[in-house]
């Protein structure tokens, strides 16, 4: 973890080149799709920092995306703020919110945390409906600025690259070590001098901030509309599915999880039987169960195992 290996650097370079070339090769529609993958990529990195690295499960990251998305939509509606600025704001607000929610999360772990975050995810869309004058109700809030596919693609992947490197820097050092220590054994971590409250809430904050930026971009990707039903429970569940498919505790695998949940709906819509909306849910559910049952370490683990097998042979 201390220094990136040569294959990892090569992979990063390849991804970077592909991303840089893609806009010239793709139609507007496909640029939008690629941007969507980038959005999920950011959100899943965030979730992975929390669940994969610090061992705290969240079934509520869709709600943090909602907060980020509404931040952007409302700032744009009321103040015509520069959209990139609103993303920074979404990052900050969600960091603070995640930090605060992480405080009660200190007291409970495991299933309790899953319960609380799940209930949080269910509550947020309802709160939007309650305060409909400010938050737009079921009709949602629309940004005053709209963006082109190319803009969205470029900004998303630039943000993704920055946040990826940031995550890598955080996780490779002292903080990342503390996270992993907490994940593996809280008792052992405490007795080796890791301050649990600081690091657990920090993980929550960082993770929520990532989701916030993703939510901000998500709103821009849906024509600038922030709507409560876009941020339903299913979004939170999908993020968890993506993280599980990618492999908890691996940053490199995240791209696979993002491609999986970003592209499956589109790819499968041409397939006759599973093409319907419900068919996709069936595939989503089946794949995540199969992945957890058969390859518990996800794609990243599978890849690691394959590489090791080849090195051994």
């Amino acid at each position: 973890m201390s220094r990136p290996s040569v294959p990892a650097l090569v992979a990063a370079a390849v991804v970077a080149v592909v991303v840089a070339v893609l806009p010239f090769a793709l139609s507007g529609y496909h640029q939008g799709l690629a941007a969507l993958v980038g959005i999920y990529f950011i959100a899943i990195i965030g979730l992975n920092i929390l669940t994969g690295y610090s061992g705290q499960i969240s079934i509520g990251h869709g709600a943090f995306m909602a907060v980020g998305g509404y931040t952007t939509a409302i700032m744009s509606r009321d103040h015509h703020t520069n959209l990139v600025l609103t993303m920074l704001m979404a990052f900050a607000i969600c960091f603070a919110l995640g930090f605060v929610l992480g405080l009660p999360a200190l007291r409970f772990s495991g299933v309790y945390l899953a319960l609380v975050t799940f209930a949080f995810a269910v509550s947020v869309p309802q709160i939007v409906l309650k305060f409909s004058t400010f938050l737009g109700g079921s009709g949602g809030v629309q940004t005053t600025q709209t963006v082109s596919h190319v803009w969205l693609f470029a900004v998303t992947w630039a943000a993704a690259a920055i946040l990826f490197v940031l995550a890598w820097l955080i996780l490779r050092g002292r903080t990342g070590r503390a996270f992993r220590a907490i994940r593996d054994s809280e008792v052992a971590a405490t007795s080796s001098g890791v301050e649990l409250p600081i690091y657990k809430t920090l993980a929550f904050g960082i993770s929520a901030a990532y989701a916030g930026v993703a939510g901000s971009l998500y709103v821009l990707a849906t024509n600038g509309f922030a709507q409560p039903n876009e941020f339903g429970v299913i979004l939170s569940l999908q993020l968890l599915v993506g993280a599980a498919v990618a492999g908890l505790g691996s940053l490199w695998g995240v791209i696979v999880g993002a491609v999986f949940i970003g592209l499956l709906p589109t790819v499968s819509s041409d397939v006759p039987v599973i093409g319907s909306e419900h068919g996709q849910d069936v595939v989503f559910g089946l794949i995540v169960i199969i992945v957890i049952l058969l390859i518990p370490t996800g794609f990243a683990g599978l890849l690691a195992r394959l590489t090791r097998a080849r090195a051994g042979a």
């Binding site: 209930a119 269910v122 008792v187 299913i234 419900h278 849910d281 169960i289």
Partner: protein
């Protein structure tokens, strides 16, 4: 010697104290106070009484789904996030059976049988392989199941609204000035009866004893010949049956059947289970009833809490209980071992 003798002598006052002792615990006092409050309120205001009765009916449903969660939590320390969706799916099965011409109650019991098999299979095929791995793995599997069931139900029946006859009719009884719907009474009775049936099974049959042993002391139970794995699978089956009862009783109160039927109920059940202490079956039931009544009364008298805020309010209850008393009303404080 003299002191020993006095201690052994059973005095009438001492007897009374021994009988009253369980009633004097803070939890019992709280519950008694709550009951008195509800009775006094119901006697003074008809609207209050009406909301309380409706709340009890809804609360019984929350309680039975909460009980399903607790049964599984006690046995395996995991929460089945798909519990609500399983209940929803079994309600669709009942709908289908009625469409095929079965009477309501025939369909009801056939559905419970289906739910039992379904729950058992879920445990055997999906949960058992990951059971010993980690909480996160089990939670993710149940989340996958959540999405899967949603998809399958949508696939088979479509997402549009279905209508199902209410088993109780629309009749309303008037008791004094208080209108009580037959619907509420029926819901309450069916739910409570199924919970009592389950309690009898656990308390007075050998199978129930085996299941309790498997849940509480799996290693020792195995040593004395209890088939622990089989008991866990049966536990999931019974939980699914309770969920099915909850689903079938939720449907008539919503008037319509749709795939999102049980999602709010699941959240209320979470809150109810945590309020009761997550490990206590009685607590789940009491928690459910309390939450049902509480939500209705708050909705009636606190104007800020409109229909949209019911779910966030349940979340709030969940959070407050966990912050103030994580072991809930009836749970024991957890001891963490290294």
């Amino acid at each position: 010697m003299a002191t020993v003798q006095t201690r052994d002598q059973p005095g009438p006052g001492r007897d009374l104290l021994a009988v009253l002792a369980p009633l004097l615990r803070p939890v019992s006092l709280l519950l008694i106070a709550a009951a008195v409050f509800l009775i006094v309120g119901s006697l003074t205001s008809e609207i209050f009484a009406q909301q309380t009765v409706a709340g009890l009916a809804q609360g019984a449903v929350f309680g039975s789904l909460a009980l399903a969660l607790v049964l599984i939590y006690r046995a395996t320390e995991v929460i089945n996030f798909a519990q609500g969706e399983m209940a929803m799916a079994t309600t669709y099965v009942a709908y289908q059976l009625i469409q095929w011409g079965l009477g309501y109650w025939e369909a009801f019991f056939a559905t419970l049988a289906f739910a039992f098999v379904f729950g058992t299979l879920v445990q055997l095929l999906l949960i058992r392989p990951v059971q010993h791995r980690s909480t996160i793995a089990v939670v993710i599997v149940t989340v996958g199941l959540f999405v899967l069931i949603d998809g399958v139900v949508g696939w088979i029946w479509g997402a549009d609204i279905k209508f199902m006859p209410s088993p109780f009719g629309q009749q309303v009884y008037h008791l004094g000035g208080v209108a009580i719907s037959r619907q509420d009474i029926g819901t309450f009775l069916v739910t409570i009866l199924s919970v009592i049936a389950l309690w009898l099974l656990f308390q007075f049959t050998k199978l129930g004893l085996g299941m309790r042993a498997a849940a509480l002391r799996p290693a020792s139970a195995r040593l004395v010949g209890v088939r622990v794995d089989r008991m866990l699978a049966l536990g999931w089956g019974l939980a699914a049956v309770l969920g099915a009862v909850a689903g079938l009783m939720t449907e008539p109160s919503q008037f319509v059947l749709q795939p999102t039927l049980m999602q709010p109920v699941l959240i209320y059940a979470f809150a109810a289970a945590v309020l009761g202490g997550l490990e206590s079956p009685a607590g789940a039931m009491v928690g459910g009833l309390a939450l049902g009544v509480f939500l209705n009364l708050v909705g009636q008298y606190v104007h800020f809490v409109t229909a949209e805020l019911r779910l966030p309010f349940a979340f709030f209850v969940l959070l407050v209980v966990l912050l103030i008393k994580p072991s809930g009303l009836f749970g024991r404080p957890r001891v963490r071992k290294v």
